[in-house]
Amino acid sequence: MISYEFIHKFSDVIFVGLFFVNNKLLKTMSNSSLPNYLEYKGKYKGIFAWIFSTDHKRIGLLYLYSIMGFFIVGAILGLLMKFELIAPGKTIMEAKSYNAVFTLHGITMIFLIVVPGIPAIFGNFFLPILIGAKDVFYPKLNLLSWWLYIIGAAVAISSQFMNGASPDTGWTFYAPYSFRTQSNVLPALIGAFILGFSSILTGLNFIVTMHRMRAPGMKWLKMPIFPWTLYGTAWIQLLATPVVGITLLMVVAERVLNIGFFDPALGGDPVLYQHLFWIYSHPAVYIMILPAMGIISEVIPTFARKAIFGYKAVVISTLLIAFVGYFVWGHHMFTAGMSGTSLFAFSFLTFLVAIPSAIKIFNWMATLYKGSILLRTPMYWAVSFLFVFMIGGLSGMVLGALSINVHLHDTAFVVSHFHFIVFGGVGFAFFAGIHYWFPKIYGKMYDAAWADTGWIVFFFGFLLLYTPMFYLGIAGMPRRYYDYVPEFHFANILSSFGAFIMIAGLAIIIINLFRSAKRGKKAESNPWAGKTLEWTIGSPPIVENFEEIPEIK
């Protein structure tokens, strides 16, 4: 029997450990004339020089370590679920524990990792550099966002340690169960609310930064694609997050003050909760995936030795995805009870939103066409991103069709679909990004052979983990069940073994990166012959990035 509370206590150890390793890394760093951001000595010392730093690069790394810490926890929780599903019946945990584990897995992965993920880590680190600025517009607000993130995470996780059961609602907090259950839903709700504020403030900061701080000569249409995708994302963070914020507050009021919004016993409407929740949470998928597409749009041109094909089409499709993404939330609720007209409209819009995504795929393909392709680790990740993202996207089309959706709703097929998009899309792009920018962040080169090994093991494990779940879903296995009929045994074994392989790949990747950050060979300032501004400055960058603000011709 494995207790997941134990793993949580473990996670704190990992988290503190990451900071410790980071401080060790600093001592081995080399220097140039001006102190680089890792060596710079401000008014605080030790760990305080990090957690009170307003340097966007240090804040980016704070997010990197905190998010990686939570990611390891979330991945272990996922692994526990796969252990449970390796055989029918009870394997390692009871049904109730399973409910708590998938809830915590969802809350951690969504609210703590993929939603903030790429904008908070790479956006913070590289947005100012890519547009030729010394920092973001509001550096203190930026630090506040990280603190809100940590506070929100702590509040959400405190639900595990309080008296009473861990939350068991799933990450969606559907009414009326979310205010009827006796488990500790309240801290989880309040934590998610605080995390929303962190996200809003980051988005606000990025928009103002891009409006006011682009280097002289960098017109809007000269901005690299990654900042553009952050721009689209920032608007969604700004305009969609408050809706889920107020919705979660209403559930809190419903639990604490007995105010009826969603409780049918008081005349409220539980389906209304679902609408409000998905008005945010569907655009949130685009908060996750747009910056991922941005990274891919930086990596592919660099390693194809070509400018991106159809720059304007990529920019416009980014903004279109951000815009149309607001109007498709209903496709999460096809079976919840809606009028025929709404069903039709939501289904149609869902198909529509696929078009700008497809435009991007074609642009990336066309960028590769007749390029002199250099196969390095970031490129492996980028190309495999295309593969998994297309599977994820096309299975989304299957779910967007009304009649098929009735059959597949709430089955393993849905789970597989969104893991292909959210984990395949965002995760692969994240790993592409970390392997692309690692030499810039640490001024060190990683061991490419181990990095490639990690990629192939991870990629194979990923496919083996999620592909059988498409079959399981079609065959009728519901999601969020800890048990299944014997007919599903074989596919579940495959899937569980895929999980083990994938975790092994993940371990190789993370260990390799940590070792390399410490002991790797010194990296050149432009190891990939990249064309964007971050490659014109030293590795690691100096404190305010540029000795002189560059002029863009």
Partner: protein, 203 residues
């Protein structure tokens, strides 16, 4: 583009842009509640009308006037700081502050009277009235309560601005924070302008 010095960085336009973005966020925050209100009202029109008669229109109207006047005084304080009239700025800000507190005092008595009559979520006498009334008063307390919370935050904002005007940190060259506080106060005002008819007037 603008100067990018992070140590002494003053960009009037940029700061205002940031405040406007924050206001968009606030609008959508309340927007979620207005959606809930609209749905509930559509389903329980008659009950909402009957429940609205329980509210005191005159207190609501007085509070509306108070907020409108306070919006005017804070706007005037922004003009007067540009005319280098520090003392007048402080007087106008103090007036805004006092009006905001009077608003809250009125609110306190209004809520107090309702609660005394047993009209609060979870009370027995409210639950006897039926679903529509329960929903109406639930929304009433939640929305006006959230609005009152914004008034309190606004009071803190204005108090900080007064200190900054007094010690010269806000002056004729640098007054964007005061302008942002004004924007925020207008937002609080505008939200009330919608809450007042929705709860008090449509009977």
């Amino acid at each position: 583009m603008t100067e990018n010095n992070t140590h002494d960085h003053y960009d009037h336009e940029g700061s205002k842009l940031g405040m406007w973005l924050f206001i968009f966020t606030e609008l959508l925050f309340f927007g979620g509640l207005f959606i809930v209100y609209a749905v509930m009202r559509y389903k329980n029109g008659t009950a909402f009308g009957l429940a609205a008669e329980e509210l005191d229109v005159s207190i609501g109207a007085i509070n509306t006037v108070i907020l409108l006047v306070s919006s005017a005084t804070i706007a005037m304080s922004i003009s007067s700081i540009q005319l280098k009239k520090t003392k007048l700025t402080l007087i106008l800000l103090a007036t805004t502050l006092i009006l905001a507190i009077v608003f809250l005092v009125n609110k306190y008595f209004e809520w107090g009277a309702k609660i005394e009559h047993g009209l609060y979520p979870g009370s027995e006498s409210l639950e006897q009235l039926g679903h529509g009334e329960v929903l109406f008063f639930g929304l009433y307390y939640f929305m006006t309560g959230l609005h009152a919370l914004h008034i309190i935050i606004g009071i803190i904002f204005i108090a900080v601005m007064m200190v900054k005007v007094k010690n010269g940190k806000l002056n004729v060259n640098r007054f964007v924070q005061l302008e942002n506080a004004g924007l925020y106060w207008h937002l609080v005002d505008v939200i009330w302008i919608f809450l007042f008819p929705l709860f008090y007037l449509i009977a």
